[in-house]
Symmetry: C2
Subunit: 198 residues, 2 copies
C-alpha cells in the first residue's frame, strides 16, 4: 500500500495515512519475504515512504513491527468472526481455513521471531492474550459448543486451532493433501460423536 497522493489533507490525515501505509507494507513484506528479509529499506520502498518519513512515526524497527503485529492480531481475529451458524464440518473447515490464511503465516513469523527476541516477545504477549481470548469467546458462541460444557468447548477449540496451525506450518514444506483431508474427516467424526452423546 503506497501512501496515496491526494490533494489537501490535515496533518492528522497525512500522518495516519503514512503510518497505515507503513504498517500495511510491513505485513505484506513479512508475508512475502519472511521476517528475516523484511528490512526497513524494502518496507519503505513498498510503502512509498522515505527512511526519514518512517522514523518520524516509529522509533525503531521493533516499534514498527509491534504496530504491524497489533494490526495482524486484529485482522486475524476479524477473519475468525465471519462464521455464522454452521454444521460441525463447516466449522472445522472454517477453522482450518483460518490457520491456512496468509495473515496467520505472518502471525507465526512474528511468534517464531519473538521466541529469541525478548523485546518483541514482551510486546507480542498482550496481543496474543487478546487474540486468543477473543477466539475462545467466539468458539464458545458457536453452535457446536452449545452441546458440551464451556470448559471442554474452550479446550477443544484451542486444541483444534493448535492442530491446524501445526499442520499449516508443515504444509508449506510438506503438503500431504490426502492426510489433511483424512485429519479433517477424523475431527468431524470425533466432534459429531461428542455432540451426539451430550
Amino acid at each position: 500500500m503506497t501512501a496515496e497522493a491526494v490533494g489537501r489533507r490535515t496533518q492528522a490525515e497525512r500522518s495516519a495515512s503514512t503510518q497505515a501505509a507503513l504498517v500495511e507494507a510491513t505485513i505484506e513484506t513479512i508475508q512475502e519475504l519472511g521476517y528475516h528479509r523484511a528490512s526497513l529499506g524494502e518496507i519503505c520502498a513498498r510503502a512509498g515512504v522515505s527512511k526519514g518519513g518512517l522514523f518520524r512515526h516509529f522509533d525503531s524497527r521493533l516499534d514498527l513491527v509491534v504496530a504491524a503485529a497489533q494490526e495482524v492480531g486484529r485482522r486475524h481475529l476479524e477473519g475468525f468472526r465471519s462464521l455464522g451458524p454452521a454444521t460441525i464440518e463447516e466449522q472445522l473447515v472454517f477453522a482450518r481455513s483460518r490457520a491456512r490464511a496468509d495473515i496467520n503465516a505472518v502471525w507465526f513469523e512474528l511468534l517464531i521471531a519473538a521466541r529469541t527476541d525478548e523485546h518483541l516477545r514482551e510486546q507480542l504477549t498482550p496481543v496474543a492474550i487478546w487474540l486468543y481470548d477473543n477466539i475462545e469467546e467466539l468458539a464458545l458462541a458457536s453452535t457446536l459448543a452449545q452441546k458440551v460444557e464451556p470448559g471442554l468447548a474452550r479446550l477443544a477449540a484451542t486444541s483444534v486451532v493448535h492442530m491446524f496451525d501445526g499442520e499449516a506450518v508443515i504444509r508449506a514444506v510438506l503438503p500431504r493433501p490426502a492426510d489433511e483431508e483424512a485429519r479433517l474427516a477424523g475431527a468431524v467424526a470425533l466432534f459429531e460423536g461428542v455432540a451426539d452423546q451430550g
Copy 2:
C-alpha cells in the same frame, strides 16, 4: 562446539571435525538467536573457525543451513526413538516433550524460514519427508497403536504431533500451564476411550 585443538590428525579428520563444529554452532546459534540473527560471523565465532575456513567446506550460507537442517532432522528423530512400552498418558507426555524440545524450536525456525525461501524449501522437503515418515513408523510400533487400525493410528499420531507443535509455538509467547495440562488430560481421556472400545 569449538573445533578441538588436538595433536596430529589426518586431513579427513580435520575436515570432518571442522564441519561438525560449524554445523553444531549453526544449530546452537539458531536455537539461541533465531534464524534471523544467525549470521555467518556469529556462527564462525562460536565454532572457532574463520570465514575462510567456513567457505572451504560450504559453498554458501544456504549450504551450511541445509547441512544443519539435516542434522536437526536426525537429532529430532533420535529424540523420538527413546520411548519404550508405556501407558497412553506416558506416550502423550512424551510426544509433548518432543514438541517442546530445543531441537524442535530449531526445526520450526527452519520450517518458517523455508516458507519464503524457495531454495531452502527445496532442500528441506526431503528432510521433512524422511523425518515424518520415520515418526509415523515409530508411532505405529507404539503400544497404543496396537489397538486400532494402522491408518487411524498414523492419523492420530500426526494430529497429536501437530497439536503439541502448535501449542509449543504459542507457549513461547503465551504460556497457559493450566490449559496445557487440561489439554493433555483431555487427550489421554480421548485415547483411552478409543483404546477401550477397540
